[in-house]
Amino acid sequence: MTSVLGVLKPFWKNKLARTGVIIVGIIVLMAIFAPLITPYSPNNSSFAPMLTPSAHHWLGTTQAGQDVYSQLIWGARQSLYVGFAAGIASTIVGLVIGLIAGYAPGIVDDVLSYLINVFLVIPGLPLMIILAAYAPVHGSLLIIFVITVTGWAWGARVLRSQVTTLRSRDYVAAARFAGDSMWRIIFREIMPNMISLVAAGFLGAAVSAILAAAGLEFLGLGDPSINSWGTMLYWAENSGALLQGQWAWLFAPGFLIAVLGTALVLINFAVDEMANPRLRKKG
């Protein structure tokens, strides 16, 4: 237990990171307790459409007569789910490929490094859009998939170069002479020394996944019947929320995306300081 607290301490000690942790915590609680804190079901379309904010509908209603505030709170679930799932998936792919490329010598490294470079260079958003457009079914899994395919390479590159420097350390050589297998050395000896890099990579990947998912859904490449912040913006744009003066419907989902993204970046400041002591404030 003390060791868990020890790991978490830097996140609390750093003022910026603490703010980030609190904000993410609030959004997660909001998602969990959505049924308790929303007055209506997000899919209840029995209200008058396109109402501007009022006491009954704090943020107005949609073109289909759903309550925007309820959709916003429920939407947190979907956005958190896609953001974290895609963040975790691309971190894992990047981690495995980066570790193997960094540790394995010769041809394996060459091939994997080449693969990393190709995916680094191919622009992400256009590739995501093209992949999603060719796909026959649209849904959250597809979005998670395309974000992972386009997003793993950054982490892989950073981790690969870190492994190449760790590989020649004495303790790794000792493990090798002791007869440990390559997998054991990679995952038991090398990986624990890169936890902060992995964490930073995950947070970065989650932020870009949340933004990318919102962008894809806004373009109509998600499942428009799913309730998320990105699809809310899609419907707001496509039913002329701007022309009707429904600023709240348009403003709120994007604002929460920005807040969630900022909170994750703030947490990342603490991770950066762990990985790179030079960024720590003096004294």
């Binding site: 260079v121 622009p123 859009i129 109509g220 701007l242 348009l250 920005a258 807040v259 993204g261 970046v265």
Partner: protein, 331 residues
């Protein structure tokens, strides 16, 4: 020199794999999107046999082996022939790209350069005056703006400045009453229409440059040679600009060269929101109309530009950074 040769080989390999990926994607996808496409084309009527042939080659419908299709695909690419657009029939894909490209190059090109220069400058200032009011305010504001969904900020700007107060036009690249031409009135209108998109792109992209430069600069200010220079009593300004910033900017130069490559893809979402007649909007209309020839052509164009820009970044680095020259390139 050996380094450049290696990077050159890498360039060709990357180009090859990106173009091959572009070839394979519509063929590997389930549900055979290409068949649907061809049926739609035939519905358009009055197509020449050559045009149908070109579409078949690009989408892989001429019942030949994958290998033969692949050779033909390369043949068409070397002849700069990407087929006919479905959405803008009977115009060719090349024609549509040529129409959209200048708009994107000017708007996104100018904003990318501005964003890099201003962001890097602010990053240097923030790191130099670390912990000051300037540093903390600039850094925290940019942390927030860089998490903005681009398109959302664009929508808000349109709402405030295009609808509530009609300071700026809310869509298009030029006034609808005008014909595109090289005259002052048209250029004026185009500039006027580009201010709001440019502003939204600047606001949401500045942060990335500023934060990256600030981190690099803080690392550089701690290097031994900077400590030595300070001990020698060099003025702080010389130290910050000529010593630390000069080295801290190197990693940013690479990202900058790459982002110049990304210019071609446009700011897809911003262009969509503003109905700006650029590449991003073209890609969107290709996607929403399932116009596969146009999608393929645009994607190919984007990838080639980014790969070339990336190579240019490597070359620039050789001239700027002697460590790269001597190290032989630990990529």
């Amino acid at each position: 020199m050996r380094y450049l040769v290696r990077r050159g080989i890498m360039l060709l390999l990357t180009l090859w794999s990106a173009i091959t990926l572009n070839f394979l994607l519509p063929r590997l996808m389930p549900g055979n999107p290409a068949e649907v496409m061809l049926a739609k084309f035939k519905g358009k009527g009055n197509m020449s046999p050559q045009a149908i042939h070109a579409i078949k080659v690009m989408l892989g419908l001429n019942n030949e082996s994958l290998w033969q299709q692949y050779l033909q695909y390369w043949h068409e690419i070397f002849h700069w022939n990407f087929g006919v657009s479905y959405t803008y029939f009977p115009f060719s894909v090349t024609h549509e790209i040529a129409q959209a490209l200048p708009w994107t190059l000017v708007l996104i090109g100018v904003t990318t350069v501005m964003s890099f220069v201003i962001g890097t400058g602010l990053g240097i200032a923030a790191a130099w005056k670390r912990g000051s009011l300037l540093d903390s305010s600039v850094t925290s504001i940019f942390t927030f703006t860089s998490s903005f969904p681009y398109f959302w900020f664009a929508l808000i700007c349109i709402f405030l400045l295009g609808f509530e107060t009609t300071v700026f036009p809310n869509s298009g690249g030029f006034a609808a009453t005008m014909n595109p031409g090289f005259n002052m009135a048209f250029i004026g209108s185009a500039v006027y229409h580009s201010i709001l998109p440019a502003f939204t792109i600047l606001v949401s992209s500045l942060g990335g440059w500023q934060l990256q430069m600030r981190n690099n600069m803080i690392a550089a200010l701690n290097e031994d040679y900077v400590v030595l220079a300070r001990a020698k009593g060099l003025p702080e300004r010389t130290l910050a600009i000529l010593y630390a910033a000069r080295n801290a900017i190197l990693p940013n130069m690479t990202s900058f060269a790459m982002s110049l490559g990304f210019v071609v893809s446009g700011a897809i979402l911003v262009e969509l929101v503003f109905s700006y007649p650029g590449m991003g909007n073209l890609l969107y209309s290709a996607v929403s109309n399932e116009d596969f020839p146009l999608m393929q052509g645009i994607f190919l164009m984007i990838v080639v530009c980014v790969v070339l820009a990336n190579f240019a970044a490597d070359v620039i680095n050789v001239f700027l950074d002697p460590r790269v020259r001597r190290g032989g390139g630990e990529a």
